[in-house]
């Protein structure tokens, strides 16, 4: 059986026929072809699939597409400005070399934006603690933490 899921993605209405058991991340990647959202583990451990649903960071691999019915989603493709200007968090990752292979990066950036929204002036310790849902196999985290700290300052000003 299929069901129709309709929602808003990056400010535009989107809908598709999916199976009831379709995970949100598969709807995003396969139905909408927004492949910036990654699948690292598929077991809710790594955070690579993090997106925003109604303004809050969630792991799109650990929920059904139908749970997002009617919701307002933002994926990594939706945070830069229309003219291509990067979001301050993306820009900070670029400036501070917060990525190597880049696989974890979309999830890191989405999670970090949620973090800074909740903690506008985070200490390094707090960033490390609050980023525990996102794994990176390359960077050793130092530059990611630096990037988030820097972005928290630009996002405040």
């Amino acid at each position: 059986m299929t069901v129709k899921v309709s929602l808003t993605v990056n400010g535009k209405p989107a809908s598709a026929e999916v199976e009831e058991r379709t995970l949100l991340v598969n709807f995003i990647r396969d139905s909408l072809r927004l492949t910036g959202t990654h699948v690292g583990c598929d077991t809710a451990q790594c955070g690579a699939c993090t997106i925003h649903m109604n303004g809050r960071a969630v792991k799109s691999c650990n929920m059904l597409a139908m749970q997002a019915e009617g919701a307002d989603l933002v994926t990594i493709e939706g945070i830069a400005k229309a003219d291509g200007t990067l979001h301050p968090m993306q820009e900070a990752f670029r400036q501070h070399h917060g990525l190597q292979c880049g696989f974890c990066t979309p999830g890191m950036v989405m999670s970090a934006i949620d973090l800074v929204k909740n903690f506008p002036d985070p200490s390094e310790e707090l960033i490390r603690e609050q980023l525990d849902g996102n794994l990176c196999r390359c960077t050793g985290y130092h530059n990611i933490v630096k990037a988030i700290k820097a972005a928290s300052q630009t996002m405040r000003s």
Binding site: G47, R56, N62, M63
Partner: protein
């Protein structure tokens, strides 16, 4: 994941009706445990009834005597609630330490309690604070609710609607986390109600339990040294790759001591 039929419940009565008709149907709250179990085919419900759209199940009401939290209230909402922080700061901080920020944005108190994972955090708070679990059928006292590993007093078709926590005089929760999953290897919640002390331990055994010897010692004198020499027996404690039973027994005393210290601040 095996296929299933999906529906959004409009009301609790609605959800109960579907559950009564189909014994293999399952409620879906945040899905942080259920979806994972379905992917592993450890759970394969015929139907999934999503509680996400039932407004009345979500929200926090509090006064100086008690805090009532709706079953669908997310961990992140409890952690940031001004009412919870004021009345029972230990509960807000417990909720803020569950899993990671994405899990806390989805996971709910009702789902956590119905699931009764041996390493879950909320059961320790519910048992130590002597909370009451309210369902669509009755009210269940914390002491009657947790029955064993992943087992509760909930009957078929019974739906948690809210949890009511009496406000303690002082309380604190200390957890020794599994660094990968953030679940409790051992977590101890100590609550002094003013008329008695309750100590609840999660993570150490197949289900949350109270430590009577510690409660008695703390009632006589509420100080870390009162529990420093009280050890729980190793027998019956969990032993796995994360920690052996003797280490968990040791951690219970250490975490209890730290919780008492924190509650006195």
């Amino acid at each position: 994941m095996y296929s299933f039929s999906y529906q959004k419940a409009k009301t609790v009565a609605d959800a109960a009706k579907v559950l009564a008709k189909d014994g293999d149907a399952k409620l879906l709250a945040g899905g942080q445990s259920l979806i994972a179990a379905m992917k592993l085919r450890l759970a394969h419900p015929s139907a999934v009834i999503d509680l996400g759209t039932i407004k009345e199940l979500s929200g926090i009401k509090g006064d100086s005597k008690a805090v009532a939290i709706g079953a669908m209230t997310r961990h992140a909402e409890v952690a940031s609630s001004a009412a919870v922080k004021k009345a029972i700061p230990a509960l807000a901080s417990l909720a803020g330490g569950i899993g990671d920020r994405m899990v806390r944005n989805m996971g709910t108190i009702g789902g956590s309690l119905a699931n009764n994972d041996p390493a879950a955090d909320y059961p320790a708070a519910v048992l130590a604070l002597g909370a009451t679990i309210v369902t669509n059928k009755r009210k269940i006292a914390a002491d009657e609710f947790f029955k064993g590993m992943y087992e509760t007093a909930l009957q078929k078709g019974e739906i948690i609607t809210s949890v009511s926590f009496p406000v303690p005089k002082r309380a604190a929760y200390m957890k020794f986390k599994n660094p990968a999953s953030r679940y409790a290897i051992v977590g101890v919640f100590v609550a002094d109600s003013g008329s008695g002390v309750r100590v609840a331990v999660t993570g150490a055994a197949p289900s949350v339990f109270r430590v009577a010897a510690m409660e008695k010692a703390l009632a006589a004198k509420f100080a870390p040294e009162s529990v420093a020499n009280i050890a729980v027996p190793e027998k019956g404690l969990n032993s796995d790759l994360h920690a052996k039973a003797d280490y968990r027994a040791h951690l219970v005393t250490v975490m209890a001591k730290r919780a008492v210290e924190a509650a006195m601040k």
